[in-house]
Symmetry: C2
Subunit: 203 residues, 2 copies
DNA sequence: GCAATTTCGTACCGTTTCGAACATATTTAG
DNA sequence: CTAAATATGTTCGAAACGGTACGAAATTGC
């Protein structure tokens, strides 16, 4: 994609990817409703009209941030879940990878944009739809990985193991926001992985 | 407490308990930041100054609602957890009692004020403190009930069982807001209780 | 150069926000 | 019946809100 074929008019100078990252940071730190367009403008360095042109209105900015956040999770954490090897270590590694996203430091946690902030704004249909999609994706990927590691199990047992794993991650967001440290949640994830392994008869 | 010894001045006519219930309903449906004082005024039927006089400013209203909500949980759901009998049924009954609070109907879920809406407003110190208190209480009561039902177990095993139970409930709030039905979460709770029972060697 | 085209920020609009000042209503004390 | 005291709703104001109209800036095609 060279600029040999350039459009007429003033060339765009806005880094939409960097701006989107700032949107994610602010939204997951303070939630949807508590963030103003002025806040977003200051955080991104873009004027309010520029924000509007690039991402639409405030609701559109938030749902786009949810999508982008989900994509980042898919890129940086899901591979750890789907990696070959023991289920127990795959789960532990996945939890830790998610904690790397949820935490900036061991103590300070911006948290999860989807599981942490979306529930309180779920009366907006588009937000609820994204929240549901995020949970569904988590459940589906988790069930697939568990079935692969422990084939032929009773369906109810697989469901149980899946729920324990998914619920562990979902609870991370609330616990992180409550002040739990990254280290505490890491051992919590490891214990959850261990219990699932035991339940499935894998250790 | 008769009115034989009445104060001078116009007697109060406001039902603060009913008003508090309306505050809880609105806050847990839309979160903290998305609710305006006018919304609260309309929902309670009280004027804005009356709200202010009865409950302080908006933040104070929210944290008071968190406290009142926690008290209601303590009254109507915790007894189910601490009831005598099998751990498995105690856990199931507790989960169902919580779902009775989270859901108005099988499909419509106002959700949990503490685990559902507080995380996105946890940058407010007072809100974070209440969120932490709620999670701590849940963990403590859960651990006590589990230790009682399965004494002498390894500490790590007790922690694991406790976490699975607590995280199940915490995840309920996000799942309920995502559109999950009460029935779905009820079977999820039953499966979680069953798994914990198995892990502890109780069934 | 000059017009057309696209990008971008300043300034602005109407609405909503929280909170307080103020006047009014309702009671007891004397 | 009057004065004091308490409770309550109407009114107001300054600030912040989301969103947009409009003009300035920067580039291409001719």
């Amino acid at each position: 994609m060279t600029d040999s074929q350039r459009k007429p008019g003033r060339p765009a100078t806005i880094d939409t990817d960097a701006a989107m990252q700032s949107l994610i940071e602010l939204f997951r730190a303070k939630g949807y409703a508590a963030v103003s367009l002025d806040d977003l403008s200051e955080a991104t360095g873009l004027s309010r009209p520029s924000l509007y042109r690039s991402f639409g209105n405030k609701l559109s900015m938030y749902v786009s941030a949810m999508d982008a956040f989900g994509a980042q999770v898919g890129e940086s954490a899901i591979p750890a879940l789907e990696a070959e090897g023991e289920l127990k270590s795959a789960l532990s590694n996945f939890f830790n990878a998610m904690l790397d996203i949820y935490y900036r430091d061991n103590d300070i946690a911006p948290g999860c944009l989807v599981f942490g902030t979306a529930p309180s704004s779920a009366d907006e249909e588009k937000i609820q739809a994204r929240l549901k999609y995020g949970i569904d994706q988590l459940d589906v990927r988790m069930r697939a990985r568990i079935t692969q590691a422990a084939p032929g199990r009773d369906a109810a047992l697989v469901d149980t193991a899946t729920q324990i794993a998914s619920n562990t991650l979902i609870a991370f967001s609330a616990r992180a926001k409550s002040g739990a440290t990254k280290a505490e949640l890491s051992t919590m994830g490891a214990r959850s992985a261990q219990a699932i392994s035991v339940l499935l008869g894998l250790s």
